[in-house]
Symmetry: C2
Subunit: 191 residues, 2 copies
DNA sequence: ATGAAAATCGACACGCGTGTCGAAAAGGAG
DNA sequence: CTCCTTTTCGACACGCGTGTCGATTTTCAT
């Protein structure tokens, strides 16, 4: 008996995800949301006071989901290289379907709402990746290059491609060669 | 005697550049522009029918300026590596002052107006860079790796950093190491 | 200097999204 | 089933940006 409120809240979040992914942040109005969720403006406002709060709730829900990701795999004893491989695959996949990702909405939101939330999010991404890389170094799978720098490189390259792939056709090959480049640097290869 | 119209047109473009750089595309209203240019709404509308047209005019003016850039230097016989160095320096500089660049506005504009303009712009960037790289290969300065791939890598990495640097603090070192990476790949170095 | 053409003004009506509020409906504990 | 609480509804007033238009001022060739 989760309560009606909780249930419609989930319903709204689910409905709005699709909207934000498709249209970005600013283009989405409360009117859009209530249409997508099949409810009235008044009803919607009693759950979320505006698109800002709605989007924040959405972000929270999503990030808490994949926060556990790396950590769990590390604890299971999976090889760092393998975890990396999976993560890169996932990112490549995301880039093939940019219209399903929130990256653009996140950018617009950060632009409007001030960068605090985004900086926090970014720091948490950095932390997760750094942990993975240090774990890999410990295991002797990765080379002891500057972990922070590599993390930055990974995150920025991907953010860039992810965002622009919504606008400019990005070739499979380009994405792939970025991934290769990352792997090569981590392995410390000289070829 | 360039004609009043021409002159105020330039004046408007100049005033709006600062606006677009600071606020992006969508946040800029015709009202903002006429305030910044010290003129009335009616007057402004007799020059530009809306922010779309205004921004397009601005883009055109800007891109035609640096279109000649590489070509001119190549013709002067400057070394490819030196041209590259200068271009990278310029980009690093731009990233230190993201609030003066139109990158965010360009992205928002593309998102709204459809990607045609942006794709055209991108193709022209690609062409310029490719020409430079081929020129470098011809001279024996660069290695004959896949030119298209490298160009893509350059453009995407920079776009990504450029945009996110408006939101997330980007360390000097990160930007620099991206540049290093590009140079290394072009030189075909193995270290 | 002068008058036709060009450029500018600012008030107007409009569309759209917002956030609120009292009435109506649905929920759910006993 | 009943009754109090929670949730939903949709109409309202508001703010803001838009694009237009006839009146007014400025420009510039003669």
């Amino acid at each position: 008996m989760t309560g009606k409120k909780e249930r419609t809240r989930e319903h709204i979040l689910k409905a709005s995800y699709a909207l934000f992914a498709k249209k970005g942040f600013k283009q989405v109005t409360m009117k859009d949301v209530c249409e997508a969720a099949n409810m009235s403006r008044g009803g919607l406002y009693s759950h979320f006071s505006g698109t800002d709060q709605l989007f924040e709730a959405l972000l929270e829900k999503i990030t808490e989901k994949d926060a556990m990701d790396f950590q769990g795999k590390i604890e299971k004893g999976m090889a760092a290289a393998e975890i990396l491989e999976e993560a890169l695959k996932l990112m490549e996949e995301e880039m093939r379907h940019p219209e399903d990702s929130l990256s653009m909405a996140m950018y617009e939101y950060a632009e409007e709402a001030g960068s605090d939330v985004m900086q926090r999010l970014n720091r948490s991404s950095e932390k997760r990746w750094k942990k993975l890389i240090l774990y890999g170094i410990e295991n002797g799978e990765f080379q002891a290059v500057d972990a922070d720098e590599i993390v930055n490189m990974i995150l920025f390259s991907y953010q860039g491609v992810r965002m622009w792939s919504r606008i400019i056709p990005v070739k499979q090959k380009t994405v792939h060669s970025i991934a290769q480049n990352i792997k090569r640097q981590l392995r410390g290869e000289r070829k």
